[in-house]
C-alpha cells in the first residue's frame, strides 16, 4: 500500500516547456545501445531469475477500465499544462505572438482538440473551414501533418495552408507531430509562418506516480515483479522507494501516454490465489523490447518512418508514400511484430512500442524527431 507522503504533482509538469529544451531521460546513443542490448538479451533467450515472484506464476492482465482511468488522469494533467501555457495568451490581444505551435510525439488521442473544445475555441481541420473563419479570431489547427504527404504533388495543400495562415491576423494555435516538424524543418515557409513552439515536459518517476495515484487511488496495490515492493511507496524523504517508475520513465522516453501503455502491457496478476495478498493486487514489470525481423528490414523502417511523419492514415494512402509503394503486406507484417495497429485499414503507431520504433530508426541512421 502507498504511504501517506506520496509525491504531489511536480512543479515541472504544470506547464509546457519551450521547444528544444526537452531533457531526454536517456541520450540517443544510450537509448540505441540499450535497445540493442535488450534485443541481444532476448535473442539469446536470457531471463533473469532475480525476481520477487516467479514470472510463471503470473498471468497477463488486460483492464480496459484501468486504461480509461489512467488516460483520464493523464488527460487532466496535460489539459492543466495547456491551460497554464496558452489560456492567458489565447484570451489576450497580444499581437507580438499570434502563432504558437504545440510540438508533440505521436499520441493516441487529440489533447489539443479536447483543450479547444473545453474552452470553446474553434478547432478547424481543413482549409475550407479556415478560409470561412473570421480573420481576426482565434482558432486551433490540431494536426498540421494531415496537410501534406511526402511527395512533391502532395505538398500543395501545405503551401495553400501557409498562404492562408499568412493572411490571418488572429491568434492561431497549431498542433504538430514532432516527426512531421523534423520533416518540415527545411521548408522556409515553416520558418517564417510558424511561431513559438512548445512541447510537453518529460514525465519523470514522480510525475508518473502522480498520474498513477490519481487514476488508481492512494491505496493502489501494485508491486514490482523485480523487487516485490510497492511501486508507489515513498521513503522518509518523500522520494519513491522502488526504481520501477524511474525505469518506466526512461523506457517511455518521458512521454506519459507511452508510459501508460508500457505499464499496461507489463501488468499481470498472480495466477495462484495463495500468492495474492488482496483481490486487487497487481504486479508490473517492464516488457521486453519489440524488434523487427532481421536482416532485410529496410522496407519496415521506411514504413515506420513514413507513418511517424504522416500520422495515422489509411494503409493505401501511406503505402503510396513509401520508396516502394507496391510492397504489399508491409503493414500486416509490422502489426504482427507489434509496431503498428490496424483498424479498418487505418494504420496507426502502436504507442506501447514507440520507444522501440524510435530506437530501431535511430540504430538504422534515420533522422529522429526533436523536442
Amino acid at each position: 500500500m502507498t504511504s501517506s507522503n506520496s509525491p504531489r504533482l511536480p512543479e515541472h509538469i504544470r506547464s509546457l516547456i519551450p521547444f528544444g529544451t526537452y531533457e531526454w531521460p536517456r541520450s540517443e546513443a544510450e537509448q540505441t545501445i540499450g535497445h540493442l542490448f535488450e534485443k541481444l538479451k532476448s535473442g539469446l533467450g536470457a531471463t533473469t531469475n532475480d525476481t520477487a515472484i516467479d514470472p510463471d506464476k503470473l498471468e497477463n492482465k488486460s483492464d480496459e477500465a484501468m486504461r480509461a482511468a489512467l488516460q483520464e488522469a493523464l488527460q487532466t494533467v496535460l489539459l492543466e499544462a495547456l491551460d497554464a501555457t496558452y489560456l492567458d495568451w489565447v484570451r489576450s490581444s497580444d499581437n507580438t505572438r499570434t502563432r504558437r505551435v504545440l510540438v508533440h510525439p505521436p499520441m493516441d488521442g487529440d489533447t489539443l482538440s479536447a483543450w479547444g473544445e473545453r474552452h470553446d475555441i474553434p478547432v478547424l481541420s481543413d482549409i475550407n473551414q479556415l478560409r470561412d473563419h473570421p480573420p481576426e479570431t482565434c482558432f486551433i489547427l490540431p494536426r498540421l501533418e494531415v496537410f501534406f504527404g511526402r511527395r512533391v504533388e502532395d505538398l500543395n495543400p501545405l503551401f495553400n495552408l501557409f498562404e492562408t495562415l499568412a493572411k490571418h491576423e488572429g491568434h492561431i494555435l497549431l498542433g504538430c507531430n514532432s516527426w512531421a516538424r523534423a520533416f518540415l524543418e527545411r521548408f522556409d515557409e515553416k520558418q517564417f509562418l510558424l511561431g513559438n513552439e512548445d512541447t510537453f515536459p518529460p514525465f519523470d518517476a514522480d510525475a508518473l506516480a502522480h498520474v498513477l495515484e490519481r487514476a488508481l487511488g492512494p491505496d493502489a496495490d501494485v508491486k514490482s515483479v523485480a523487487s516485490g515492493d510497492y511501486i508507489l511507496n515513498c521513503d522518509d524523504d518523500g522520494k519513491l522507494a522502488d526504481p520501477f517508475l524511474k525505469k518506466l520513465a526512461e523506457k517511455s522516453l518521458g512521454h506519459p501516454w507511452v508510459a501508460i501503455e508500457v505499464f499496461l502491457r507489463g501488468m499481470a496478476e498472480a495466477a495462484d490465489t495463495d500468492e495474492k495478498t488482496s483481490e486487487s493486487q497487481l504486479w508490473v514489470k517492464l516488457p521486453a523490447a519489440c524488434s523487427l525481423p532481421a536482416p532485410a528490414n529496410d522496407a519496415h523502417l521506411f514504413a515506420l518512418h513514413t507513418l511517424l511523419i504522416h500520422g495515422s492514415r489509411q494503409a493505401d494512402e501511406l503505402s503510396q508514400l513509401l520508396p516502394n509503394p507496391s510492397l504489399t503486406g508491409i503493414w500486416l507484417s509490422l502489426q504482427g511484430n507489434g509496431f503498428v495497429d490496424l483498424n479498418d485499414g487505418q494504420v496507426s503507431c502502436a504507442i506501447r512500442s514507440y520507444p522501440d520504433i524510435r530506437s530501431e530508426l535511430g540504430a538504422a541512421g534515420f533522422n529522429l524527431d526533436r523536442l
Binding site: T32, L36, R151, V152, R186, F187, T306, P323, N367
Partner: protein, 276 residues
Amino acid sequence: MEERAQRVSNLFNDLNGWVIAEIILSIVLVWVFIKATQKILPWVSEFLPAKLRNLSLNSVPVLRVLALLFLVIWIVPLVFNITLQNFVFIAGAMSVAVGFAVKDLASSVIAGFVALFEKPYRLGDWIKIGDDYGEVVTIGMRAVQIRTPDDNVVTISHDRIWTDNVLNANDGFGTLMCVATFHVAHNQDTSDVAELLRMVGKTSPYLNLDRDVIVVAENETCCTVYKLKAYPFEPRNQFAFITDMTERGNATLRNAGIRAATVSDEIISGSAKSSN
C-alpha cells in the same frame, strides 16, 4: 674472427625453450586479438547508426597498430640484447635489407602508418583512388580494400597516397553528397525548375533532414543543366537516393510541362560522320 663471433653472440640473448614458447604465445595472443577486433567491431558496427559505426570501425586499425607495437616491444628484448651499439648494428642491417629487398612493401607499410594518422580514408568511408570508387571495408598493414558499387573488392596499396589524389566522399562523417543531373531544353520558362527539383530532394525518403538541399543550374550549348545536390541519411543508400531523385525529378518536370533536352539531328549526324 673470435672477437667478431663474440660480438654477434652478444647481440642475441639466450633463446631457451621457455623464451621461444613465450614468443610464440605472444604472437598467437596478438594475432587472436587482431582477428577478434577485425571480426567483432565491424559486426557490432552493422547495428549502429552511421556516426557510431564509423567510430567503431575506425578503432580497428588503431587497435591493430597498438597490438603490433606491444608485440614488438615485448619480443625484441627477449631476442636481442639491447644496447646502443647493438641497436645501431640491427638498425643498419635492417635498413640495408629493407632498402634492397622489400622497399615496396616497406613503403606501403609506412604509408599505411601515415594514413592511420593523416586519415585520407577510414573504414566505412566512400573513397575514390584512380578509377576505383567504393566503401572502405578493410585497412590492412599493406593495403586498403574497397567494395565497389558492382560488389567487387578492390585491393589498393597504401603507397598510392604518395602519388595519387584520394577522393573521400564522406571523410568520416555519416553522410555524403549525392548529385542527380537533369538536362532541360532551352527556350522555355524554367523559372520554377530549380524550386521543383528542390521539392523533389526535400521529399525523398532517403534524405538526411539535417542537411540542405541545393540546386545548381548551368547553361550549356544545347541545354540547361540542373544539378540537384542532397545528402542521404545513410551513405549506403546513395545509389538508391540518386535513383529516387532522378526518377521523381523526371516525373515532376514532365508533369509540370518542362521539356527535357534532346540531342539535335545535326549533332547525331555529326557524331555518326566522325565515327565513320
